[in-house]
């Protein structure tokens, strides 16, 4: 009798698991329809979908917390827009796909990656903002800022920086010129800890259990120049500046834009690349 019960319980558990997986696989097909109607509704309801920067007032805008997209978009709060701040860009895009948002404002490169993977999304031609990316370093560590500036200038002059960027961006050049550390580098200067948020393709993202991307390769190249061992710490984007300030990390390299507010808390190196903030909408 007791065995019977055990068998019954096991069968029940299997059924539960099966029904759960069934739910999981069915969900996308099921949800496509409501998401579409929802999209249609919100488009009809709020007059028109977002077609440019001028349409942003009054819309529900998704951003990644603490990014420049967030900071600039927050100015629209005064004009009746709702800003929804997610921990990850991918979460905001997910919400956009499900019709919970009118648009997502995010950096151009990750936006390209998102749109590539989602047929129902597109990037507006009109960019939201143009910005410089630089490495942030504690104000107490001026020597490091100068050293990195020197290394960056060398990398730029030698064309290494361009080849690193080309290795990640551009359909023709992608994967063509991976960065390899020169042999016999002296790493006697110790370890340089880099704080980043590895959810920002192609600047930094996980490939297997390793953080790769433009920023990771560039930081490696800088360390090779300066004779450091590179250590990458993955954390939330809005914690990076805190980590650099408190000395938990030596530098923050995370596709970070130079802004006035940030300059009051940390120093920035010379910009290593420029990027655009773009608007993603549903087709």
């Amino acid at each position: 009798m007791k065995n019977m019960k055990k068998v019954a319980a096991a069968v029940l558990a299997v059924c539960m698991a099966a029904s759960l997986t069934a739910c999981g696989s069915k969900a996308p097909a099921d949800t496509a329809a409501p998401a579409e109607t929802e999209a249609a509704e919100s488009t009809d309801g709020s007059a028109a979908a977002v077609a440019g920067v001028d349409d942003l007032p009054g819309k529900t805008i998704g951003v990644q917390l603490g990014t420049t997209g967030d900071i600039y978009a927050s100015d629209y709060e005064a004009e009746g827009s709702t800003i929804e701040r997610y921990n990850k860009g991918a979460d905001a895009v997910q919400a956009l796909k499900q019709g919970k948002l009118d648009c997502v404002i995010i950096d151009n490169q990750p936006a390209q990656a998102f749109v590539e993977k989602n047929d129902d999304l597109k990037i507006l031609d009109e960019e939201f903002a143009v910005e410089d990316y630089a490495i942030c370093i504690s104000k107490d560590n001026k020597e490091l800022t100068e050293a990195i500036n020197g290394a960056l200038a060398e990398l730029k002059a030698e064309g290494i920086l361009d080849s690193i960027i080309a290795n990640y961006i551009g359909d023709d050049t992608k994967g063509q010129s991976p960065y390899v550390s020169p042999e016999g580098v002296d790493r006697s200067n110790g370890t340089l800890t880099m704080a980043t948020n590895a959810a920002f393709e192609p600047y930094e993202y996980y490939d297997g259990d390793k953080v790769v991307g433009i920023d990771a390769d560039m930081a490696q190249a800088v360390c090779d120049k300066l004779g450091y061992e590179l250590k990458i710490e993955d954390m939330e984007f809005d914690s990076i500046i805190n980590a650099v300030q408190s000395g938990k990390a030596d530098m923050g390299v995370a596709g970070m834009t130079v802004t006035e507010d940030r300059l009051t808390s940390v120093d920035f190196t010379e910009p290593y690349t420029t990027a655009k903030q773009v608007i993603i909408v549903r087709k």
Binding site: T37, L65, R85, K100, D261
Partner: protein, 228 residues
Amino acid sequence: MSDFQLKFYTNFIKEDRYLYLLKGLGNTLIITLFAVIIGVVLGFLVAIIRSTYAKTGKLKLLNTLCGIYLTVIRGTPMMIQLMIMFYVVFVSSNNKILVAVIAFGINSGAYVAEIVRSGIMSIDQGQFEAGRSLGFSYPQTMWYIIMPQAFKNVLPALANEFIVLLKETSICGYIGLMDLTRGGDIIRSRTYEAFMPLIAVAIIYLIMVVGLTALVGKLERRLRASER
């Protein structure tokens, strides 16, 4: 000191940043309040079903269902449950507060259920037998004799659960909902200062928990009054 004042100004007064904390606090309180209500109702129902099965052997099917509910909810992290609610179950809903209330309510229900069940099972079997031999039906015995005693016993553990629930709502930021913690995070992302926003948020949580503890302590004393 003027440095402190300046920091206080940039973190809370400048650009009305304190509003992030205020709105977040409101959301935290709403979510906690309604989640507690759902949790208590759900928890008591499940506890009664489970202990009825344990005592009388009735409600077998319901007991199995409750067992599965407890296993699934207590066996998965709250954060994952919240994400599943938002991105999988309520795909077309955009009411984040509602989603959070339901997710936290269902989660809390599982823990409340086990707490209340422990209370019911702690009441001596003789109390049941006395009730039944006095002519009370099973539900009447439960309601008039067992529950009042059990409730008094589990009150401290329940208060514990509500405190945990209140603090656990701090993960709401994962679905982009601005609760108190996320309000502090937003300020932190604007001012790049860790100290002020984090300490302010911590103090507000502390005040809420102290208030909640005091309320429960009062209720406990009132219930004790009948003991002497």
